[in-house]
Amino acid sequence: MGSVPLRTTELQGAEDPTPLELVRRAQGGDSQAFQKVYETNVGRVYALCLRMSGDPQRAEELTQDVFVRAWEKLALFRGESRFSTWLHRLAINVVLQDRRTRGRRGDREQTTADLDIYGAAAQKAMPGTRVDLERAIAGLPEGARRIIVLRDVQGYKYDEIAEITGVSLGTVKAQIHRARALVREALER
């Protein structure tokens, strides 16, 4: 199917297809169905990328990468889990892989100006969110930020995070404790 040209099918008129039907059509190369899949899921993916990267612009690029990757790997989705769960896990892998690809050269401490920009973007993208908390997360070192987002925001279990990130359970726990302490410090400032 890799060389199948993009196709579109008429999505209007008939009853609205279910999310799974849209995924199935996209698996057959239907880009219009995939656009619907994108529209349904982009909010969650962008929120994840935004918090894990701590950078609004990078989060947009990562979101695009996630959906391009999802398109390429759609054949791997067998329907054994919810598509949103599958996509979410894929998104995490894309963000983590991006970090590995960039190595440490992409790391730098967030300045107050960076955090101001991030806070404004977070407020705009997620009206009603706690901006002080969002800023505190964004200001964490990258490793701690990823772990606290996965554990405390996304609700992954410790052993799942260890598997996803490829670090030991003990390290994951140590990082989450440190991240929480840093967030509390930031909130108290």
């Binding site: 199948v4 962008y46 929120a47 695009q64 790997k73 908390l133 405390d152």
Partner: protein, 227 residues
């Protein structure tokens, strides 16, 4: 009063990760320790606040047009024909996998051809397998060499699969491991049978076929990872 409880245990207590007995011990301590009780209270509040952050964010910029142009440039939803080009930036792991993938394919072709030549006993089509139940003396070393080459290639791919397994979705990894376990069982059976009958053409062929199957599965895993 007892010494304060270490932070790690307090985190575990708040997250209900302690056993019943240990949890009860922490609770008893908290009844008489304001310091630890404050920590638990603040921690529980923080975890609750983090969990209640919005799970969706609106994107102001149009991201779809960029996605559409990228997916329209030839790469379809497939796990084998992977996209190649400027939209797939080189990644450390993919380069290594790519090289091994190529090596594996070449190995499979060359070794498989060598073995089949040996098994057939000629270079021009050969006799049907059913008419040649036993291998000639020259064929056995060829099979052994191919088997050794497969083992080496498979070992290297397995090492890298271990390195990249966290990049696969759990359901994909589970399916992959089931497939590999089934093939490995078949390989072991073939080896055990070959110990009894080392010149059996059928068994040698089976062994090489199983090795090729395992290599193919590992190649697919590599393809899934090297994105």
């Amino acid at each position: 009063m007892n010494a304060h409880i270490e932070a790690t245990r307090l985190h575990d207590y708040v997250e209900r990760l302690l056993g019943e007995e240990e949890g009860a011990a922490v609770e008893r301590h908290l009844e008489s320790c304001d310091h630890c009780r404050d920590i638990v209270s603040e921690l529980a509040e923080l975890i609750s606040d983090l969990a209640s952050l919005p799970s969706e964010a609106s994107v102001e910029r149009d991201l779809w047009s960029g996605i559409e142009s990228r997916i329209g440039q030839g790469s379809g939803p497939d796990i084998i024909e992977l996209p190649v080009g400027r939209h797939t930036p080189p990644r450390r792991i993919s380069a290594t996998w790519g090289q091994l993938l190529a090596a594996g394919i070449v190995l499979a072709t060359v070794s498989g051809g060598t073995v089949w030549m040996a098994l057939r006993g000629d270079t021009a089509g050969g006799a049907p397998l059913a008419q040649a139940p036993s291998l000639g003396s020259a064929a056995v070393p060829a099979v052994q060499v191919a088997d050794e080459q497969y083992r080496e290639a498979i070992t290297r791919l397995e090492d890298l699969l271990d390195e990249g397994r966290h990049l696969l979705l759990p359901e994909t990894l589970a399916a992959l491991e089931r497939s590999l376990a089934a093939i490995e069982g078949a390989i072991e059976d073939a080896r055990a049978a070959l110990d009894e009958d080392p010149n059996s053409e059928l068994l040698n062929r089976l062994l090489i076929d199983h090795q090729q199957s395992k290599l193919r599965v590992l190649e697919q895993a590599a393809a899934a990872i090297r994105l």
